[in-house]
């Protein structure tokens, strides 16, 4: 149908690919419509043949380029992948969840959910737009998952296996259960309140027939009972376990107040006189459940986004079998296999290099900022990145046995060993509960001399007036609001206790590579002519070494001449012919051995953190570049702000001590506050030692920091960090730079202040209520009215408090 209509292309396709919008190479310009590559032609054909041509009319995609990765996703069909991520449904279909990059609008829903049209055998595709998760069901006999994955990829939605699937299903069940509880409690609360309105209005002039009053009271009692038994059960269970473990917490007074008020109401209904508070009981259950639900949701949003980031890390390896390279999931690797590691790929296993010479970037594993050369016979580790040339590596240890696996296990161990943070509000609640119980006993004792009925009424009034509703709300509400606002500022906080631990100054340990520095090589110094720049880039364009990337990024837009006969020497440099000249770019030793240096540019530089690179033209050194892992622009400012607010800062890095000392001095660290060449194990030991004498916060990005991050009181991961570091961290900064760190610390302080104000206000209400109830001034009805007013005040305080916002 739409094939003919859409084949008349809009004017812009003369230059741009009809599918992805990239420029069309001259050789292919004759076609109509024109494509930049055959992959886009296939995608275009498939879309038209499946009746999906409307894709090209969607307003939302017009200004967006589609970037298919062109991968084959063969590892998605591997048995190991299937065992890990794919479930078989009762109807025989296979089902899995994929995390898609780049879904953002209604058109994406349309397109992704049309996958079954384009890939026969796929039964359904359902997209969760908010999280970018698509649930795909297919018939394993007719289709493969890789076909569906390739289709999604050609549309620009790069699929990744969703690793949080199991935890996600568990949480979904939990969520549904809480929603059911909240709904039931809400329905009961509203209806009991309606009955209560009838009872209260019956007090007015004229009154209500006693028979009706009795009827409404009986109805309220019966309707409230299921609220106590079903939605209210978590409070009673919590109270029981609190008594069993002898740690008083909020659930105890809640359970006491609920059962006290209910039993008292039952007694009064049976006697046919005295007030009843069934409406208060039902409303209390409903509101408390709402508060808890909101709090868990806010904390989960932060955990979720960290989990989706996990799904992005590559989990494939290219296995060489009989000279054929196949993509398999990293989990399927076994010792003895040979893997092909391309330039730029991350290693998925520990192994020994068989063929090839290259350099290995170990920044994430060890914190070394410069790549190290490797040649056949050298050992390489999972989690490091190959820079330079292809390598063939024999797998020695894979998965949990690899060095990375050991570090990950250490991370889990230290995370579970971490002492639970005793929350201020909880310990306060414990004392509060004890005080309330004593006061209630006193009230009863004082009034039982007057009459048993007065004693009971006043004791219940006291219990209701001191209901820790507002107190219970103060902490979770302030934390929920703060976590939500922090997330909008790019700070993902996984739990409220992290905010509490960050609110007061303590020791803060920072990693260097990737945390204080950008984690990539940049040009810092240049001595030489403009012509030398052009010649340098002409050669560096042919390399993917971090030095080359750094140089190329330094001078974008430079008119670079073509180079011929380019030859790379691993650990040395590049040579080639540019504009008729013989050009060398490389390390001083390598260039020095091949060229004269009349101006002494090859002499050691003043800055030990920079790696020198010399450029020689026709046998004479003409330029010198100094490259290094540059500091983040906001690092100095952030550290100054942290020091000013009383934090003790330390630098702990795996890089060489000379570099660490130089960076440390520049950022105002005393020499004894800096430590270099620390292995992951050293970092863990150091943090554990510091944690014994007080709170310690660890900020890092790499796998080498992960164990230390897990062991610290609060672990903070920075943007661009490794997966292990993300999962270990309590707080994750998803905005680049270090400025969010200072924001996090000051925001945490303001959050705790807001909590304390809320607690103070609610206690004020409670003290007032206690005084009035003890004096017999208020009856339970007035007490029941005071209680929601105090809760409302606390809600407003939490809402209005400035915790994480732009003005802060």
């Amino acid at each position: 149908m739409a094939v003919t209509e859409a084949a008349a292309p809009p004017a812009r396709t003369e230059l741009e690919c009809a599918h992805c919008g990239l420029p069309v190479p001259p050789a292919l310009r004759g076609d109509d419509p024109a494509f930049c590559c055959s992959g886009c032609r296939v995608a275009w054909d498939v879309l038209h043949e499946s009746g999906l041509a409307r894709y090209y009319d969607l307003a939302e995609r017009r200004n967006l380029r589609v970037e298919p990765s062109g991968r084959r996703f063969e590892e998605f069909d591997h048995p190991a992948f299937q065992a890990l991520w794919v479930r078989t449904r009762v109807d025989g279909l296979a089902e899995t969840e994929l995390y898609l990059e780049g879904v953002h609008c209604a058109s994406c829903v349309w397109l992704v959910e049309r996958t079954p049209l384009a890939v026969p055998g796929v039964a359904s595709a359902e997209l969760d737009l908010a999280r970018g998760l698509v649930q795909i069901a297919w018939d394993p006999g007719q289709a493969t998952l890789s076909q569906a994955a390739r289709f999604l990829d050609t549309l620009g939605y790069r699929p990744h296996p969703f690793r949080g699937a199991r935890a996600d299903r568990m949480r979904r069940t939990e969520d549904r259960a809480s929603l059911v509880r909240i709904g039931v409690a809400g329905a009961i609360a509203i209806n009991v309140m309606l009955a209560a309105i009838a009872i209260y209005s019956g007090w007015g002039p004229g009154g209500m027939a006693p028979a009706f009053t009795r009827f409404f009271r009986w109805v309220s009692m019966i309707v409230t009972l299921p609220a106590m038994l079903f939605p209210g059960r978590p409070f009673f269970r919590g109270a029981l376990s609190s008594l069993r473990t002898r740690v008083l917490h909020m659930d105890v007074p809640i359970a006491l107040a609920l059962s006290g008020a209910y039993v008292h109401g039952v007694v009064n209904v049976l006697r046919g006189s005295g007030p009843v508070y069934f409406d208060g009981v039902a409303t209390l259950i409903f509101l408390l459940l709402c508060g808890r639900f909101l709090q868990t949701r806010a904390q989960r949003a932060a955990v979720d986004s960290a989990e989706l980031l996990h799904s992005l890390s590559p989990a494939i390896a290219r296995v060489v079998e009989d000279d054929v390279v196949r993509e398999v999931p990293a989990e399927a690797l076994v010792p003895g296999m040979v893997v092909d590691v391309r330039d730029g790929d991350a290693l998925a296993c520990d192994g020994v290099v068989l063929e090839g010479r290259s350099e290995i970037d170990r920044a994430l594993l060890t914190g070394e900022s410069l790549p190290q050369p490797v040649s056949p016979g050298d050992e390489v580790f999972a989690g490091t990145v190959n820079r330079g040339a292809s390598l063939r590596v024999r797998v020695e240890r894979a998965g949990e046995d690899s060095r990375m696996g050991h570090i990950l296990r250490e991370v889990e161990r230290s995370a579970s060993r971490r002492a639970p943070v005793v929350r201020a509000a909880d310990s306060l609640a414990g004392r509060f509960v004890a005080v309330v119980l004593v006061l209630a006993a006193l009230t009863w004792w004082r009034w039982h001399f007057v009459s048993a009925n007065r004693a009971f009424d006043n004791t219940i009034a006291l219990m209701i007036a001191t209901c820790p509703c507002a107190l219970a709300l103060a902490t979770p509400l302030a934390i929920t609001v703060a976590i939500g606002r922090a997330a909008r500022r790019g700070i993902l906080v996984k739990g409220g206790d992290a905010l509490e631990a960050l609110s007061k100054p303590a020791t803060l340990v920072l990693d260097k590579t990737g945390t204080l520095t950008e984690g990539r090589i940049e040009l810092a110094e240049w001595t030489g002519s403009d012509a030398a720049r052009r010649w340098t880039l002409a050669l560096e364009r042919h390399s993917s070494h971090p030095i080359a990337t750094g140089l190329l990024a330094a001078w974008p837009g430079l008119d670079v001449p073509p180079a011929t006969d380019v030859h790379a020497t691993t650990g040395g440099g590049l040579e080639g012919r540019v504009e008729g000249r013989h050009v060398l770019v490389g390390s001083p030793a390598w260039v020095g051995a091949r060229a004269r240096d009349p101006r002494g540019l090859g002499a050691p530089g003043a800055d030990p953190t920079l790696t020198p690179v010399l450029v020689a033209v026709d046998g004479e050194v003409v330029a010198r570049a100094g490259l290094g892992d540059t500091l983040r622009p906001d690092a100095a400012d952030t550290l100054a702000r942290l020091r000013a607010s009383g934090w003790a800062l330390r630098l702990l890095s795996g890089d060489s001590p000379a570099v660490v000392a130089a960076v440390g001095t520049r950022l105002g660290f005393a020499p004894k506050e800096c430590r270099g060449s620390a292995s992951p194990e050293d970092k863990l030991a150091e943090i554990e030692a510091l944690a014994r004498s007080g709170r310690v916060v660890m900020v890092g990005d790499g796998v080498n920091d992960a164990a230390a991050i897990a062991a610290a009181t609060v672990g903070v991961g920075v943007k661009g960090g490794a997966e292990a570091c993300l999962s270990a961290a309590d707080v994750f900064l998803s905005r680049p730079g270090l400025a969010p760190l200072a924001e996090l610390v000051s925001g945490a302080g303001r959050t705790m202040r807001a909590i304390r104000v809320g607690i103070a206000v609610s206690i004020l209400y409670n003290v007032l209520g206690v005084a009035l109830a003890f004096g017999g001034v208020i009856n339970p009805l007035i007490a029941a009215f005071m209680m929601p007013v105090s809760s409302l005040t606390v809600v407003l305080i939490a809402w209005r408090s400035r915790t994480f916002d732009e003005r802060a």
Partner: protein, 57 residues
């Protein structure tokens, strides 16, 4: 006003029906994703393709 004795239980039965419907909805995951389903009705149904196309290779 004796009708109250019938009216109130009937009203409660209606509430019970609503609660049962809600519990069913929550348990079958109707509230799991509250964003995407609101978009689906806006998507027009396309004509079914005449021939089943081949998957991308």
């Amino acid at each position: 006003m004796a009708v109250m004795y019938i009216l109130l239980p009937v009203a409660l039965l209606v509430v019970l029906a609503a609660v049962v419907a809600y519990v069913w909805a929550a348990r079958t995951g109707q509230f799991d994703d509250t964003t995407t389903p609101s978009i689906r009705p806006l998507i027009e149904d396309d004509e079914a393709p005449k021939d089943r196309p081949q998957p991308p290779r």
